[in-house]
Subunit: 225 residues, 2 copies
Amino acid sequence: MLSDVMEDYLKSIYNLEREHEPPIATSTIAEYLDVTPPTVTSMAEKLESRGLIEREKYAGVELTPDGETVAVEVIRHHRLLESFLATHLDYDWDEVHDEADALEHHISEEFEDRLAEKLGDPTVDPHGDPIPNADLEPPEHPDTEVLADHAEGDALVVARASDRNTDELRYLADAGVQPGTELTVTEHAPIGLFVVEIDGEAVHLPERVAETLEVRPAADEVTDA
Amino acid sequence: MLSDVMEDYLKSIYNLEREHEPPIATSTIAEYLDVTPPTVTSMAEKLESRGLIEREKYAGVELTPDGETVAVEVIRHHRLLESFLATHLDYDWDEVHDEADALEHHISEEFEDRLAEKLGDPTVDPHGDPIPNADLEPPEHPDTEVLADHAEGDALVVARASDRNTDELRYLADAGVQPGTELTVTEHAPIGLFVVEIDGEAVHLPERVAETLEVRPAADEVTDA
DNA sequence: ATATATATTTAGATGCATCTAAACGACGGT
DNA sequence: ACCGTCGTTTAGATGCATCTAAATATATAT
């Protein structure tokens, strides 16, 4: 039986593997999970002995297929919960992450199934992240670019907002920006401010937000949802 | 911050105090939670040092008002979750207990509030147990008797089925017996079998089930729900 | 009243997840 | 090729929840 903490490590490594090329360094995981590096080393030894990760000392760590399956299941739980909280319990999309984190390790298969059924087997969660299917195949992460890389005049659709930074999410939610929102870049000010137009309104976004907000060209409509 | 385990001990002591007069003995708690007595002693010391229980060595344990409040909150979570699973996720009433046990320590105040709102502030759960209100006053447990104490011919309403024994619950659920069900005692056979009539049908119940199933006279209608 | 049975507590150990401090390996710059 | 820096691992400690075995207190029966 895997502990909650082990599941968290596997989920984190999975997420980090989408951002960086494996192997994932000890310090990267430590920072992501807000623990010290020796803690990561010791956990990595346990996960390796259970065949959930491969580990090269002093280099880093990579999920095995088994480890990836565990990670994908936890992520499926997380994103189904987020979707459920948003659509059935009236949570705002910037509030769902922490609650889903707390519950994701504790729901049964039964609960997972009923949730998916109730939601009509959704394929994306409220942040725009793909929801793995019941077979636990790792979902495709569609190609996106960050808003900050776009020039003035570009017409875009919001594809995904990272669910890890509560401040940024709240900012976006307050500004009415969510996956599916159409926007046009009005101005990329030299120092730290980004201006976009949404439904004719000018919305100002700090560069930090623009650097993490993922978008795709407005032309192609939602195909994957 | 209290651990999940501490919350479980407090909840258990609360439940045991409804059954036996305090103080509650070490071995009683040990058996209820399926741990060894020394484990209970050591946990009792911790809970005492936090002012959540009073403890008399070699005698047993009793909740303080603070301890009771914690227990009642956990029980509120548990019973709201049970109600939600039964009414919104199509769980059968004999399936909800384990899932609620797994989740009760991990939901936020926010989640609790939204659940209560969604359910219309229910006052009893699917087993017939009272749901504490948001002020966390300990709920009244209505006077009931067990089915096994009744004589042939008595007309009764099912008030409550303990949610701790999965086997018995499944038996009752299969037999169509649930809180609110009206029944008449047909036969109290001398050795271990109880026969009741429900909607004109004869239903056979093992004595073990009849000894835990709580009922009240059929005359007074549901007043408290 | 004393011996015996039973329940409780104490003592000491284990595994988990974490930490700090210290040792060690890898890697880039001169 | 060496040295120093930086990141990683080892070593050892802590707190939690649990166990078994042993000591001790309480209750019961004669």
